[in-house]
């Protein structure tokens, strides 16, 4: 069978580091942090007052109020990112095509859920606004996108916690490869900075302590003084397209997806294991048909928690052997925080930008080496790289579902 190749032809983003792929890249490769003091009504009640919020007021990004008023923040951000990705790919805005939407989200319309509960339990009212169901449901963002573009193909939502959008991209890649569709909007969205959800993260003690000297430096992946993750929010959307389809319409081609693997880390619902993370990377490498030493850069899951970073380092060593010390690994979460269900897609986008620029994004705030984390994490400053061809992006998750994606530079 003729082997279909899948390329990325469009990108759109809402993130703590800007709402265009260009702004995102400029900030990421210059090592700028989007982490700051959380701005919200309930900030005084939080133990962890640090967050990576997206500067995204929908009124500034949509023409009409009716374009966004019936959407939860996840839908607003994902729809805007999708419109931008579609423009970037030179696709028409109303398409009526057998194309797909593949979205990952960890906590769905949690802000709308909280607003609803507040109305009932706190304000004591006895009814909710009519769109509440449609804003709370997990597939609200995917549905908003599919409806907007008039897609008739698969309209799918994946919720596997922090790997949700890497899974969404991987499953879109598989369906295009199988020939079910020729292109898809794939990515993720999450906006979980609601009081109850931050409190639930606080209770599992995985959130970073605020850096006393510099709030923006609170997330320190792979550093000995790391203390946890910083919650972020945003949406990242990619247009995935079959190569000949993209070429026939003269679309821009940013990178090729050459491998996707998923594996379940079954040992514990929340504590990562070397075996589980290694199995995920192994699955992607097997799918790509590459030798492991072809991989030159890994955008790590790198949450900044004690457990993840040493486990991921060990898993990389297990898969790559001596080559682990030749390749580069970095955690861009040090800058954009943890976008939860949108993290995998944002980091896939940054990995593609890395290939386009022949430049490795840094891990910032890496000032205290941890003996258990002894790889090249591109500390504090980006690095230029020659003969760059293959890069990998890792996503792991509570619940066990891991996903790795492998990208190839366009020759």
């Amino acid at each position: 069978m003729h082997c279909r190749r899948i390329v990325i032809t469009g990108m759109g983003v809402v993130s703590p580091l800007g709402n265009t792929p260009e702004a995102l890249a400029q900030n990421i490769f210059s090592g700028k942090s989007g982490i700051q003091r959380f701005e919200g009504a309930f900030v005084d009640k939080l133990i962890c007052k640090v967050a990576a919020q997206a500067k995204f007021d929908p009124a500034d990004y949509f023409v009409k109020k009716s374009d966004y008023a019936i959407l939860d923040r996840i839908g607003q951000m994902a729809l805007y990112a999708s419109i931008e990705a579609t423009k970037d790919a030179n696709l028409p805005l109303k398409q009526q095509q057998n194309a797909g939407v593949y979205i990952g989200t960890g906590m769905g319309g949690i802000l709308s859920v909280e607003e609803g509960y507040e109305t009932l339990f706190k304000k004591g009212e006895n009814r909710l606004k009519p769109y509440t169901v449609l804003m709370c449901m997990y597939n609200s963002a995917a549905s908003a996108i599919a409806t907007h573009f008039e897609f008739s193909g698969p309209n799918l939502t994946f919720s596997t916690a922090c790997s949700s959008s890497a899974i969404a991209i991987g499953q879109a890649y598989k369906d295009i490869k199988l020939g079910d569709i020729n292109y898809a909007l794939a990515g993720g969205t999450d906006a979980i900075l609601a009081y109850a959800s931050i409190k639930s993260w606080e209770s599992i003690r995985t959130l970073a302590d605020e850096d006393p000297d510099d709030v923006s430096a609170s997330c320190k992946p792979f550093s000995a003084d790391r203390s946890g993750l910083v919650i972020g929010e945003g949406a990242a959307m990619l247009v995935l397209e079959e190569l000949e389809h993209a070429q026939s319409r003269g679309a821009p081609i940013y990178a090729e997806i050459v491998g996707y693997g998923t594996a379940n880390d079954f040992k514990h619902v929340a504590i990562p294991s070397v075996e589980g993370q290694a199995a995920t990377m192994q699955a992607a490498i097997k799918n790509s048909g590459l030798a492991p030493d072809a991989i030159q850069y890994i955008n790590a899951h790198g949450t900044g928690t004690k457990f993840n970073d040493e486990t991921e380092t060990e898993a990389i060593k297990q898969i790559f052997g001596k080559h682990a010390y030749q390749l580069a690994v970095s955690s861009t979460k040090s800058m954009h925080g943890h976008l939860m269900g949108a993290a995998g897609a944002l980091e896939a986008m940054i990995t593609v930008q890395s290939l386009l620029r022949n430049e490795l994004p840094p891990t910032i705030n890496l000032n205290n080496p941890d003996p258990k984390c002894d790889l090249n994490y591109v500390p504090n400053q980006s690095q230029k790289i020659e003969n760059y061809r293959y890069a990998m992006s890792n996503s792991f998750a509570f619940g066990g579902t891991g996903a790795s994606l492998i990208f190839k530079k366009v020759e």
């Binding site: 009409k64 109020k65 009814r127 009519p130 449609l134």
Partner: protein
């Protein structure tokens, strides 16, 4: 407690403002005989309008509302529900 006096014009002003500001309906195409469906209010949009009207005037629309077709129908039922509410409160 004496009922708050609300005139037909108060109801009309409120609903028309809602249609123009919240639903972004062009004021020039609005008249009492406008059919809500034809000016772009779908069934969910109509539920939102009812939600706002109920909230503003502290009334409850009936579960079935197929009879509400035009803007005037909507204004009439709103006004009648307000009258009914006031009767109940004063009796």
């Amino acid at each position: 407690m004496s009922p708050v006096l609300i005139s037909k014009n108060d109801v009309k002003d409120f609903v028309i403002n809602l249609l123009i500001n919240e639903k972004e309906i062009d004021a020039n195409i609005l008249n009492p005989e406008s059919k809500l469906k034809e000016i772009g209010i779908d069934s969910f949009g109509f539920l939102e309008i009812i939600f706002s009207i109920e909230h503003e005037f502290d009334i409850k629309f009936p579960q079935e509302f197929q009879d509400i077709v035009t803007l005037q129908d909507c204004l009439d039922i709103t006004y009648n529900l307000i009258i009914d509410k006031n009767k109940t409160r004063t009796s």
